[in-house]
Protein backbone atom coordinates (compact mmCIF):
# COMPACT_ATOMS: atom_id res chain seq x y z
CA UNK A 1 0.00 0.00 0.00
CA UNK A 2 2.82 2.36 0.85
CA UNK A 3 4.41 1.67 -2.53
CA UNK A 4 1.18 2.71 -4.21
CA UNK A 5 1.06 5.99 -2.27
CA UNK A 6 4.71 6.61 -2.99
CA UNK A 7 4.01 6.07 -6.69
CA UNK A 8 1.21 8.64 -6.60
CA UNK A 9 3.40 11.18 -4.81
CA UNK A 10 6.32 10.67 -7.19
CA UNK A 11 4.08 11.03 -10.22
CA UNK A 12 2.67 14.20 -8.77
CA UNK A 13 6.11 15.66 -8.06
CA UNK A 14 7.42 14.78 -11.52
CA UNK A 15 4.38 16.29 -13.18
CA UNK A 16 4.86 19.40 -11.08
CA UNK A 17 8.51 19.63 -12.19
CA UNK A 18 7.53 19.26 -15.82
CA UNK A 19 4.82 21.90 -15.51
CA UNK A 20 7.26 24.21 -13.73
CA UNK A 21 9.87 23.85 -16.43
CA UNK A 22 7.44 24.26 -19.29
CA UNK A 23 6.03 27.27 -17.49
CA UNK A 24 9.46 28.82 -16.98
CA UNK A 25 10.59 28.28 -20.53
CA UNK A 26 7.33 29.34 -22.16
CA UNK A 27 7.30 32.33 -19.81
CA UNK A 28 10.84 33.17 -20.88
CA UNK A 29 9.96 33.18 -24.57
CA UNK A 30 6.69 34.97 -23.94
CA UNK A 31 8.41 37.64 -21.86
CA UNK A 32 11.03 38.36 -24.53
CA UNK A 33 8.52 38.48 -27.36
CA UNK A 34 5.91 40.59 -25.57
CA UNK A 35 8.53 43.03 -24.29
CA UNK A 36 10.02 43.54 -27.71
CA UNK A 37 6.89 43.31 -29.80
CA UNK A 38 6.22 47.07 -30.03
CA UNK A 39 9.74 47.70 -31.32
CA UNK A 40 9.42 45.38 -34.28
CA UNK A 41 8.98 47.78 -37.18
CA UNK A 42 10.94 48.50 -40.31
CA UNK A 43 12.46 51.69 -38.94
CA UNK A 44 13.93 49.93 -35.89
CA UNK A 45 15.27 47.10 -38.02
CA UNK A 46 17.02 49.35 -40.54
CA UNK A 47 18.11 52.56 -38.85
CA UNK A 48 21.49 52.90 -37.11
CA UNK A 49 21.69 53.07 -33.31
CA UNK A 50 21.78 56.41 -31.53
CA UNK A 51 24.39 56.76 -28.83
CA UNK A 52 23.01 59.63 -26.79
CA UNK A 53 19.45 60.21 -27.97
CA UNK A 54 16.45 57.92 -27.96
CA UNK A 55 15.04 56.38 -31.10
CA UNK A 56 17.98 54.50 -32.56
CA UNK A 57 17.65 51.19 -34.36
CA UNK A 58 19.71 48.08 -34.96
CA UNK A 59 20.20 48.19 -38.74
CA UNK A 60 24.00 47.88 -38.95
CA UNK A 61 24.07 45.25 -36.19
CA UNK A 62 21.52 43.11 -37.96
CA UNK A 63 23.46 43.42 -41.21
CA UNK A 64 26.76 42.62 -39.45
CA UNK A 65 25.27 39.50 -37.88
CA UNK A 66 24.04 38.23 -41.22
CA UNK A 67 27.25 39.11 -43.05
CA UNK A 68 29.38 37.50 -40.35
CA UNK A 69 27.22 34.40 -40.62
CA UNK A 70 27.88 34.20 -44.38
CA UNK A 71 31.63 34.78 -43.95
CA UNK A 72 31.89 32.18 -41.18
CA UNK A 73 30.01 29.58 -43.16
CA UNK A 74 32.15 30.22 -46.26
CA UNK A 75 35.22 29.32 -44.20
CA UNK A 76 33.78 26.73 -41.83
CA UNK A 77 31.68 24.61 -44.20
CA UNK A 78 34.46 23.42 -46.56
CA UNK A 79 36.77 22.70 -43.62
CA UNK A 80 34.08 20.96 -41.60
CA UNK A 81 32.86 18.86 -44.51
CA UNK A 82 36.44 17.98 -45.49
CA UNK A 83 37.29 16.86 -41.98
CA UNK A 84 33.99 15.00 -41.73
CA UNK A 85 34.79 13.12 -44.97
CA UNK A 86 38.17 12.14 -43.58
CA UNK A 87 36.68 10.92 -40.32
CA UNK A 88 33.92 8.90 -41.99
CA UNK A 89 35.73 7.50 -45.03
CA UNK A 90 39.48 7.48 -44.52
CA UNK A 91 40.44 7.67 -40.85
CA UNK A 92 42.24 4.47 -39.86
CA UNK A 93 41.77 3.18 -36.33
CA UNK A 94 44.98 4.49 -34.85
CA UNK A 95 46.39 6.96 -32.33
CA UNK A 96 46.22 9.89 -34.74
CA UNK A 97 42.51 9.35 -35.35
CA UNK A 98 41.94 9.10 -31.63
CA UNK A 99 43.81 12.35 -31.23
CA UNK A 100 41.58 14.04 -33.80
CA UNK A 101 38.52 12.75 -31.97
CA UNK A 102 39.82 14.15 -28.72
CA UNK A 103 40.53 17.47 -30.41
CA UNK A 104 36.92 17.63 -31.59
CA UNK A 105 35.78 16.91 -28.05
CA UNK A 106 38.03 19.60 -26.61
CA UNK A 107 36.96 22.18 -29.18
CA UNK A 108 33.29 21.56 -28.59
CA UNK A 109 33.57 22.07 -24.85
CA UNK A 110 35.88 25.09 -24.80
CA UNK A 111 34.26 28.15 -23.25
CA UNK A 112 33.55 30.61 -26.04
CA UNK A 113 35.42 33.36 -24.20
CA UNK A 114 38.60 31.26 -24.39
CA UNK A 115 38.12 30.90 -28.14
CA UNK A 116 37.61 34.66 -28.28
CA UNK A 117 40.84 35.32 -26.40
CA UNK A 118 42.73 32.97 -28.71
CA UNK A 119 41.27 34.95 -31.60
CA UNK A 120 42.38 38.21 -29.97
CA UNK A 121 45.91 36.91 -29.68
CA UNK A 122 46.26 35.30 -33.09
CA UNK A 123 43.74 36.81 -35.51
CA UNK A 124 43.65 40.34 -34.09
CA UNK A 125 47.10 41.07 -32.69
CA UNK A 126 49.56 38.74 -34.40
CA UNK A 127 48.15 39.30 -37.88
CA UNK A 128 47.90 43.04 -37.26
CA UNK A 129 44.37 43.16 -38.68
CA UNK A 130 42.85 44.60 -35.54
CA UNK A 131 39.19 44.03 -34.70
CA UNK A 132 37.70 42.83 -37.98
CA UNK A 133 34.79 40.83 -39.28
CA UNK A 134 37.30 38.39 -40.71
CA UNK A 135 38.92 37.76 -37.31
CA UNK A 136 35.44 37.22 -35.92
CA UNK A 137 34.61 34.76 -38.69
CA UNK A 138 37.80 32.80 -38.00
CA UNK A 139 37.06 32.66 -34.25
CA UNK A 140 33.52 31.49 -34.95
CA UNK A 141 34.92 28.89 -37.35
CA UNK A 142 36.98 27.45 -34.50
CA UNK A 143 33.84 27.51 -32.40
CA UNK A 144 31.66 25.78 -34.99
CA UNK A 145 34.03 23.32 -36.56
CA UNK A 146 33.47 20.44 -34.11
CA UNK A 147 29.70 20.61 -34.62
CA UNK A 148 30.03 20.63 -38.42
CA UNK A 149 32.56 17.78 -38.45
CA UNK A 150 30.38 15.64 -36.23
CA UNK A 151 27.26 16.32 -38.30
CA UNK A 152 29.04 15.56 -41.58
CA UNK A 153 30.56 12.36 -40.22
CA UNK A 154 27.21 11.12 -38.93
CA UNK A 155 25.45 11.99 -42.17
CA UNK A 156 28.09 10.20 -44.27
CA UNK A 157 28.00 7.11 -42.05
CA UNK A 158 24.23 6.94 -42.40
CA UNK A 159 24.43 6.49 -46.19
CA UNK A 160 23.71 2.81 -46.97
CA UNK A 161 26.84 0.79 -47.68
CA UNK A 162 25.28 -0.76 -50.77
CA UNK A 163 25.26 2.60 -52.55
CA UNK A 164 28.95 3.01 -51.98
CA UNK A 165 29.74 -0.56 -52.97
CA UNK A 166 27.67 -0.28 -56.16
CA UNK A 167 29.65 2.76 -57.21
CA UNK A 168 33.00 1.21 -56.37
CA UNK A 169 32.03 -1.97 -58.23
CA UNK A 170 31.49 0.07 -61.38
CA UNK A 171 35.15 0.96 -61.24
CA UNK A 172 34.62 4.51 -60.03
CA UNK A 173 37.44 5.81 -57.87
CA UNK A 174 36.95 6.22 -54.16
CA UNK A 175 37.13 10.01 -54.30
CA UNK A 176 34.58 10.18 -57.18
CA UNK A 177 32.33 7.84 -55.20
CA UNK A 178 32.52 10.11 -52.19
CA UNK A 179 31.88 13.29 -54.14
CA UNK A 180 29.18 12.10 -56.51
CA UNK A 181 27.44 9.29 -54.61
CA UNK A 182 27.91 9.50 -50.85
CA UNK A 183 28.03 13.27 -50.35
CA UNK A 184 24.77 13.98 -52.24
CA UNK A 185 23.00 11.28 -50.26
CA UNK A 186 24.29 12.77 -47.01
CA UNK A 187 23.48 16.33 -48.00
CA UNK A 188 20.14 16.67 -46.12
CA UNK A 189 21.84 15.78 -42.83
CA UNK A 190 24.71 18.14 -43.50
CA UNK A 191 22.40 21.02 -44.42
CA UNK A 192 20.30 20.51 -41.29
CA UNK A 193 23.46 20.59 -39.19
CA UNK A 194 24.73 23.67 -40.99
CA UNK A 195 21.48 25.55 -40.30
CA UNK A 196 21.71 24.63 -36.61
CA UNK A 197 25.31 25.84 -36.57
CA UNK A 198 24.17 29.09 -38.19
CA UNK A 199 21.76 29.63 -35.33
CA UNK A 200 24.65 29.36 -32.89
CA UNK A 201 26.79 31.76 -34.91
CA UNK A 202 23.96 34.26 -34.95
CA UNK A 203 23.56 34.25 -31.18
CA UNK A 204 27.22 34.05 -30.19
CA UNK A 205 28.68 37.07 -28.45
CA UNK A 206 31.49 36.26 -25.99
CA UNK A 207 33.92 35.11 -28.69
CA UNK A 208 33.14 38.20 -30.75
CA UNK A 209 33.84 40.84 -28.08
CA UNK A 210 37.55 40.28 -28.60
CA UNK A 211 37.64 39.53 -32.34
CA UNK A 212 35.02 41.44 -34.34
CA UNK A 213 34.94 44.17 -31.74
CA UNK A 214 32.27 46.19 -30.01
CA UNK A 215 31.85 49.01 -32.49
CA UNK A 216 30.75 49.50 -36.04
CA UNK A 217 31.88 52.27 -38.40
CA UNK A 218 29.20 54.37 -40.04
CA UNK A 219 28.17 52.16 -42.89
CA UNK A 220 27.39 53.57 -46.28
CA UNK A 221 24.90 51.20 -47.82
CA UNK A 222 25.50 52.50 -51.33
CA UNK A 223 29.18 51.60 -51.27
CA UNK A 224 29.64 47.99 -52.22
CA UNK A 225 33.37 47.83 -52.77
CA UNK A 226 35.23 45.22 -50.77
CA UNK A 227 37.88 47.56 -49.39
CA UNK A 228 36.18 50.86 -48.54
CA UNK A 229 36.33 51.73 -44.82
CA UNK A 230 32.62 52.47 -44.69
CA UNK A 231 31.64 49.73 -47.12
CA UNK A 232 29.31 47.21 -45.48
CA UNK A 233 30.93 44.36 -47.41
CA UNK A 234 34.52 45.09 -46.35
CA UNK A 235 35.55 42.06 -44.26
CA UNK A 236 38.44 43.98 -42.71
CA UNK A 237 36.41 46.44 -40.69
CA UNK A 238 35.25 46.17 -37.08
CA UNK A 239 31.68 45.02 -36.67
CA UNK A 240 29.34 44.85 -33.73
CA UNK A 241 26.78 42.08 -34.10
CA UNK A 242 23.25 41.97 -32.75
CA UNK A 243 24.14 39.70 -29.82
CA UNK A 244 27.11 41.87 -28.85
CA UNK A 245 24.88 44.93 -29.13
CA UNK A 246 22.40 43.45 -26.67
CA UNK A 247 25.21 42.84 -24.20
CA UNK A 248 26.62 46.32 -24.66
CA UNK A 249 23.31 48.13 -24.38
CA UNK A 250 22.50 46.22 -21.20
CA UNK A 251 25.83 46.71 -19.50
CA UNK A 252 26.83 50.19 -20.59
CA UNK A 253 24.01 51.67 -22.65
CA UNK A 254 23.82 55.46 -22.40
CA UNK A 255 20.70 56.14 -24.46
CA UNK A 256 17.61 57.03 -22.46
CA UNK A 257 15.73 54.24 -24.23
CA UNK A 258 18.46 51.61 -23.72
CA UNK A 259 15.93 49.29 -22.16
CA UNK A 260 13.65 49.70 -25.17
CA UNK A 261 16.45 48.96 -27.61
CA UNK A 262 17.49 45.91 -25.59
CA UNK A 263 13.88 44.67 -25.58
CA UNK A 264 13.57 45.00 -29.34
CA UNK A 265 17.00 43.60 -30.13
CA UNK A 266 16.46 40.58 -27.88
CA UNK A 267 13.15 39.87 -29.57
CA UNK A 268 14.73 40.10 -33.02
CA UNK A 269 17.59 37.83 -31.96
CA UNK A 270 15.31 35.23 -30.47
CA UNK A 271 13.03 35.24 -33.51
CA UNK A 272 16.05 34.78 -35.79
CA UNK A 273 17.40 31.90 -33.72
CA UNK A 274 13.98 30.25 -33.58
CA UNK A 275 13.67 30.56 -37.35
CA UNK A 276 17.05 28.87 -37.80
CA UNK A 277 16.15 26.03 -35.46
CA UNK A 278 12.65 25.45 -36.75
CA UNK A 279 13.72 25.63 -40.39
CA UNK A 280 16.50 23.10 -39.74
CA UNK A 281 13.96 20.73 -38.21
CA UNK A 282 11.41 21.34 -40.94
CA UNK A 283 13.98 20.99 -43.70
CA UNK A 284 15.26 17.72 -42.25
CA UNK A 285 11.84 16.07 -42.19
CA UNK A 286 10.88 17.52 -45.58
CA UNK A 287 13.97 16.13 -47.31
CA UNK A 288 13.62 12.83 -45.50
CA UNK A 289 10.03 12.45 -46.70
CA UNK A 290 10.95 13.48 -50.22
CA UNK A 291 13.85 11.06 -50.37
CA UNK A 292 12.05 8.07 -48.91
CA UNK A 293 8.91 8.41 -51.01
CA UNK A 294 10.67 9.53 -54.17
CA UNK A 295 13.28 6.82 -54.18
CA UNK A 296 11.06 4.01 -55.47
Amino acid sequence: MRARVMDRIATGVLTLIAVLIIGALVGLLGFILTQGWHKLNLDFLTSPPNIVKAGGGIGPQLFNSLYLLVLTMLIALPLGIGAGIYMAEYAPDNKFTQFIRMSIEVLSSLPSIVVGLFGLLVFVNMTGWGYTLFSGALALTVFNLPLLVRVTEDALRNVPRSQKEASLALGITKWRTIVSVILPAALPGIITGAILASGRVFGEAAALLFTAGMSSPNLNFTDFTLAGPTSPLNPFRPAETLAVHIWKVNSEGLTPDARDVADGAAAVLIIAVLIFNISARWFGTWVYKKMTSGSN
Partner: protein, 296 residues
Protein backbone atom coordinates in the same frame (compact mmCIF):
# COMPACT_ATOMS: atom_id res chain seq x y z
CA UNK B 1 41.08 -5.52 -65.46
CA UNK B 2 39.92 -1.99 -65.24
CA UNK B 3 42.65 0.52 -65.81
CA UNK B 4 42.53 3.85 -64.13
CA UNK B 5 43.81 6.92 -65.82
CA UNK B 6 46.53 8.96 -64.28
CA UNK B 7 44.05 11.77 -63.73
CA UNK B 8 41.81 9.55 -61.66
CA UNK B 9 44.77 8.41 -59.63
CA UNK B 10 45.91 11.92 -58.75
CA UNK B 11 42.33 12.91 -58.03
CA UNK B 12 42.08 10.08 -55.53
CA UNK B 13 45.28 11.11 -53.79
CA UNK B 14 44.45 14.82 -53.79
CA UNK B 15 40.99 14.16 -52.39
CA UNK B 16 42.31 12.10 -49.54
CA UNK B 17 45.03 14.62 -48.79
CA UNK B 18 42.61 17.56 -48.71
CA UNK B 19 40.28 15.71 -46.35
CA UNK B 20 43.21 14.75 -44.15
CA UNK B 21 44.48 18.32 -44.00
CA UNK B 22 41.03 19.52 -42.88
CA UNK B 23 40.97 16.93 -40.11
CA UNK B 24 44.56 17.69 -39.15
CA UNK B 25 43.61 21.34 -38.84
CA UNK B 26 41.43 20.46 -35.84
CA UNK B 27 44.46 19.10 -34.04
CA UNK B 28 46.52 22.15 -34.98
CA UNK B 29 43.81 24.49 -33.70
CA UNK B 30 43.54 22.71 -30.35
CA UNK B 31 47.31 22.58 -29.92
CA UNK B 32 47.73 26.23 -30.82
CA UNK B 33 44.91 27.36 -28.51
CA UNK B 34 46.56 25.46 -25.68
CA UNK B 35 50.00 26.78 -26.57
CA UNK B 36 49.03 30.44 -26.96
CA UNK B 37 46.78 30.66 -23.91
CA UNK B 38 49.36 28.79 -21.83
CA UNK B 39 52.30 30.88 -22.97
CA UNK B 40 50.43 34.11 -22.20
CA UNK B 41 48.92 32.76 -19.00
CA UNK B 42 52.17 31.41 -17.59
CA UNK B 43 54.03 34.69 -18.08
CA UNK B 44 52.37 36.03 -14.93
CA UNK B 45 54.43 33.49 -13.02
CA UNK B 46 57.59 33.31 -15.09
CA UNK B 47 57.93 36.92 -16.28
CA UNK B 48 56.17 38.95 -13.62
CA UNK B 49 57.25 36.71 -10.79
CA UNK B 50 53.88 36.22 -9.11
CA UNK B 51 53.94 32.94 -7.23
CA UNK B 52 51.39 30.35 -8.32
CA UNK B 53 50.25 29.70 -4.77
CA UNK B 54 49.69 33.41 -4.13
CA UNK B 55 47.77 33.66 -7.39
CA UNK B 56 45.50 30.74 -6.59
CA UNK B 57 44.90 31.19 -2.88
CA UNK B 58 45.26 34.88 -1.95
CA UNK B 59 42.03 36.74 -1.33
CA UNK B 60 43.14 40.18 -2.42
CA UNK B 61 42.73 41.23 -6.05
CA UNK B 62 44.16 44.69 -6.58
CA UNK B 63 46.18 44.66 -9.80
CA UNK B 64 46.41 48.42 -9.98
CA UNK B 65 47.37 48.97 -6.36
CA UNK B 66 50.81 49.64 -4.85
CA UNK B 67 51.99 46.96 -4.39
CA UNK B 68 49.78 45.16 -6.89
CA UNK B 69 48.00 42.06 -5.60
CA UNK B 70 47.01 39.20 -7.87
CA UNK B 71 44.95 36.91 -5.69
CA UNK B 72 42.28 35.41 -7.93
CA UNK B 73 40.74 33.16 -5.30
CA UNK B 74 37.53 35.25 -5.18
CA UNK B 75 37.07 34.70 -8.93
CA UNK B 76 37.74 30.97 -8.64
CA UNK B 77 35.37 30.68 -5.70
CA UNK B 78 32.73 32.66 -7.58
CA UNK B 79 32.97 30.41 -10.62
CA UNK B 80 32.65 27.26 -8.53
CA UNK B 81 29.84 28.61 -6.33
CA UNK B 82 27.73 29.82 -9.21
CA UNK B 83 28.29 26.57 -11.14
CA UNK B 84 27.41 24.46 -8.12
CA UNK B 85 24.30 26.53 -7.41
CA UNK B 86 23.17 26.23 -11.03
CA UNK B 87 23.74 22.47 -11.01
CA UNK B 88 21.93 22.02 -7.69
CA UNK B 89 18.86 23.75 -9.10
CA UNK B 90 18.97 22.41 -12.65
CA UNK B 91 20.01 18.77 -12.09
CA UNK B 92 16.92 17.54 -10.18
CA UNK B 93 14.59 19.60 -12.35
CA UNK B 94 16.24 18.56 -15.60
CA UNK B 95 16.40 14.87 -14.77
CA UNK B 96 12.87 15.00 -13.33
CA UNK B 97 11.61 16.50 -16.56
CA UNK B 98 13.49 13.85 -18.54
CA UNK B 99 11.79 11.10 -16.50
CA UNK B 100 8.40 12.75 -17.00
CA UNK B 101 8.97 12.95 -20.74
CA UNK B 102 10.06 9.36 -21.19
CA UNK B 103 8.30 7.36 -18.46
CA UNK B 104 5.12 9.16 -17.50
CA UNK B 105 3.92 10.97 -20.59
CA UNK B 106 6.01 9.54 -23.46
CA UNK B 107 3.69 10.41 -26.36
CA UNK B 108 3.42 14.06 -25.40
CA UNK B 109 7.07 14.06 -24.36
CA UNK B 110 8.37 12.85 -27.68
CA UNK B 111 6.08 14.88 -29.90
CA UNK B 112 5.95 18.21 -28.07
CA UNK B 113 8.31 18.54 -25.13
CA UNK B 114 11.50 17.12 -26.61
CA UNK B 115 11.52 19.35 -29.70
CA UNK B 116 10.68 22.38 -27.57
CA UNK B 117 13.50 21.63 -25.12
CA UNK B 118 15.94 21.09 -27.98
CA UNK B 119 14.85 24.40 -29.43
CA UNK B 120 15.62 26.11 -26.15
CA UNK B 121 19.19 24.76 -26.13
CA UNK B 122 19.82 27.20 -28.96
CA UNK B 123 18.76 30.37 -27.14
CA UNK B 124 21.79 32.70 -27.02
CA UNK B 125 23.37 33.45 -23.66
CA UNK B 126 23.02 37.23 -23.97
CA UNK B 127 19.27 36.71 -24.07
CA UNK B 128 19.39 34.84 -20.77
CA UNK B 129 21.52 37.65 -19.37
CA UNK B 130 19.05 40.23 -20.60
CA UNK B 131 16.12 38.43 -19.00
CA UNK B 132 18.09 38.05 -15.79
CA UNK B 133 18.84 41.74 -15.80
CA UNK B 134 15.34 42.98 -16.56
CA UNK B 135 13.31 40.43 -14.60
CA UNK B 136 15.34 38.58 -12.00
CA UNK B 137 17.64 41.26 -10.60
CA UNK B 138 14.82 43.77 -9.91
CA UNK B 139 12.75 40.94 -8.40
CA UNK B 140 15.52 39.96 -5.98
CA UNK B 141 16.12 43.62 -5.20
CA UNK B 142 12.50 44.15 -4.19
CA UNK B 143 12.05 40.88 -2.35
CA UNK B 144 15.13 41.00 -0.16
CA UNK B 145 15.93 44.70 -0.09
CA UNK B 146 19.43 44.21 -1.49
CA UNK B 147 21.27 45.29 -4.63
CA UNK B 148 19.88 42.41 -6.67
CA UNK B 149 23.07 41.67 -8.57
CA UNK B 150 24.09 38.52 -6.75
CA UNK B 151 25.30 34.99 -6.64
CA UNK B 152 21.65 33.94 -6.48
CA UNK B 153 20.81 35.80 -9.69
CA UNK B 154 23.82 34.29 -11.46
CA UNK B 155 22.96 30.79 -10.27
CA UNK B 156 19.34 31.09 -11.33
CA UNK B 157 20.17 32.45 -14.78
CA UNK B 158 22.73 29.69 -15.34
CA UNK B 159 20.32 27.06 -14.03
CA UNK B 160 17.74 28.15 -16.59
CA UNK B 161 20.44 28.14 -19.28
CA UNK B 162 21.69 24.62 -18.61
CA UNK B 163 18.26 23.14 -17.88
CA UNK B 164 17.48 22.38 -21.55
CA UNK B 165 20.95 20.83 -22.01
CA UNK B 166 20.55 18.56 -18.98
CA UNK B 167 16.98 17.58 -19.88
CA UNK B 168 17.89 16.82 -23.45
CA UNK B 169 20.93 14.65 -22.70
CA UNK B 170 19.25 12.89 -19.76
CA UNK B 171 16.22 12.12 -21.94
CA UNK B 172 18.47 10.36 -24.46
CA UNK B 173 20.12 8.38 -21.66
CA UNK B 174 16.80 7.28 -20.15
CA UNK B 175 15.33 6.43 -23.54
CA UNK B 176 18.30 4.13 -24.15
CA UNK B 177 17.33 1.90 -21.20
CA UNK B 178 15.99 -1.34 -22.74
CA UNK B 179 12.23 -1.79 -22.43
CA UNK B 180 12.75 -5.39 -21.22
CA UNK B 181 14.22 -4.13 -17.95
CA UNK B 182 11.11 -2.06 -17.25
CA UNK B 183 8.80 -4.92 -18.18
CA UNK B 184 10.68 -7.32 -15.94
CA UNK B 185 10.43 -4.95 -13.02
CA UNK B 186 6.74 -4.28 -13.59
CA UNK B 187 6.08 -8.01 -13.96
CA UNK B 188 7.55 -8.56 -10.51
CA UNK B 189 4.84 -6.29 -9.16
CA UNK B 190 6.85 -3.13 -8.75
CA UNK B 191 4.99 0.16 -9.09
CA UNK B 192 5.91 2.57 -11.85
CA UNK B 193 7.87 4.74 -9.41
CA UNK B 194 9.76 1.72 -8.00
CA UNK B 195 10.65 0.76 -11.54
CA UNK B 196 11.80 4.27 -12.38
CA UNK B 197 13.81 4.66 -9.18
CA UNK B 198 15.40 1.21 -8.95
CA UNK B 199 15.69 0.17 -12.56
CA UNK B 200 15.51 3.06 -15.00
CA UNK B 201 17.46 5.63 -13.01
CA UNK B 202 19.95 3.04 -11.86
CA UNK B 203 20.87 1.88 -15.32
CA UNK B 204 20.87 5.36 -16.84
CA UNK B 205 22.89 6.91 -14.02
CA UNK B 206 26.13 7.44 -16.00
CA UNK B 207 24.14 9.09 -18.77
CA UNK B 208 22.31 11.35 -16.32
CA UNK B 209 25.61 12.29 -14.65
CA UNK B 210 27.04 13.06 -18.09
CA UNK B 211 24.12 15.41 -18.63
CA UNK B 212 24.81 17.22 -15.36
CA UNK B 213 28.57 17.49 -16.00
CA UNK B 214 27.92 18.83 -19.50
CA UNK B 215 25.63 21.42 -17.97
CA UNK B 216 28.23 22.33 -15.36
CA UNK B 217 30.94 22.69 -18.01
CA UNK B 218 28.67 25.06 -19.87
CA UNK B 219 27.90 27.02 -16.71
CA UNK B 220 31.54 27.28 -15.69
CA UNK B 221 32.61 28.72 -19.03
CA UNK B 222 29.63 31.00 -19.58
CA UNK B 223 30.71 34.62 -19.65
CA UNK B 224 28.21 37.27 -20.66
CA UNK B 225 24.99 36.12 -19.04
CA UNK B 226 26.79 35.76 -15.72
CA UNK B 227 28.63 39.04 -16.05
CA UNK B 228 25.36 40.89 -16.56
CA UNK B 229 23.71 39.72 -13.34
CA UNK B 230 26.38 38.74 -10.83
CA UNK B 231 27.51 42.18 -9.70
CA UNK B 232 31.25 41.79 -10.21
CA UNK B 233 32.84 42.62 -6.90
CA UNK B 234 35.92 40.74 -5.77
CA UNK B 235 34.89 40.45 -2.13
CA UNK B 236 34.04 37.05 -0.79
CA UNK B 237 30.26 36.67 -0.58
CA UNK B 238 28.67 36.38 2.85
CA UNK B 239 25.40 35.05 1.50
CA UNK B 240 23.59 34.06 -1.66
CA UNK B 241 22.41 37.62 -2.03
CA UNK B 242 25.87 39.17 -2.20
CA UNK B 243 27.49 40.17 -5.48
CA UNK B 244 30.61 38.29 -6.58
CA UNK B 245 32.84 37.81 -9.63
CA UNK B 246 33.64 34.78 -11.72
CA UNK B 247 36.72 34.03 -13.80
CA UNK B 248 34.76 34.68 -16.98
CA UNK B 249 33.15 37.91 -15.80
CA UNK B 250 36.52 39.23 -14.60
CA UNK B 251 38.10 38.59 -17.98
CA UNK B 252 35.15 40.01 -19.92
CA UNK B 253 35.11 43.26 -17.98
CA UNK B 254 38.82 43.98 -17.77
CA UNK B 255 40.51 42.53 -20.83
CA UNK B 256 39.59 45.49 -23.01
CA UNK B 257 40.79 48.08 -20.48
CA UNK B 258 44.26 46.73 -19.83
CA UNK B 259 47.38 47.13 -21.92
CA UNK B 260 48.94 44.08 -23.57
CA UNK B 261 51.99 42.79 -21.78
CA UNK B 262 51.39 44.47 -18.42
CA UNK B 263 51.26 42.24 -15.33
CA UNK B 264 47.55 43.09 -14.92
CA UNK B 265 46.86 41.94 -18.47
CA UNK B 266 48.92 38.80 -17.99
CA UNK B 267 47.00 37.96 -14.84
CA UNK B 268 43.81 37.99 -16.91
CA UNK B 269 45.40 35.55 -19.35
CA UNK B 270 46.28 33.34 -16.39
CA UNK B 271 42.60 33.35 -15.49
CA UNK B 272 41.83 32.28 -19.06
CA UNK B 273 44.38 29.49 -18.66
CA UNK B 274 42.51 28.36 -15.53
CA UNK B 275 39.30 28.22 -17.58
CA UNK B 276 41.09 26.13 -20.19
CA UNK B 277 42.44 23.74 -17.55
CA UNK B 278 38.96 23.43 -16.04
CA UNK B 279 37.48 22.55 -19.39
CA UNK B 280 40.10 19.78 -19.73
CA UNK B 281 39.06 18.56 -16.28
CA UNK B 282 35.40 18.46 -17.34
CA UNK B 283 36.35 16.49 -20.47
CA UNK B 284 38.26 13.97 -18.35
CA UNK B 285 35.27 13.51 -16.06
CA UNK B 286 33.02 13.02 -19.09
CA UNK B 287 35.43 10.45 -20.54
CA UNK B 288 35.47 8.52 -17.26
CA UNK B 289 31.67 8.53 -17.16
CA UNK B 290 31.59 7.37 -20.77
CA UNK B 291 33.95 4.49 -20.05
CA UNK B 292 31.85 3.34 -17.12
CA UNK B 293 28.85 3.16 -19.40
CA UNK B 294 30.69 0.93 -21.86
CA UNK B 295 31.81 -1.50 -19.13
CA UNK B 296 28.35 -1.96 -17.67
Amino acid sequence: MLTRSKRQFTENITGKTVAMVCAGLLVIVVLSITYFIASKGLSTFFVNGVSISEFLTQLKWDPEGEPARYGVFPFILGSFLVTALAALIAAPLGIGAAIFMTEIFPGFGKKVLKPVIELLVGIPSVVYGYVGLTLLVPFIREQFDVLGFSLLAGGLVLALMILPTITSVATDAIEAVPQDLRNASLALGATRWQTIWNVVLHSSLPGCLTAVVLGMARAFGEALAVQMVIGNTTKLPGSLLDPISTLTSGITLNMGNTIQGTPYNNALWSMALLLLVMSFVFIMILRLLGRKRVVK
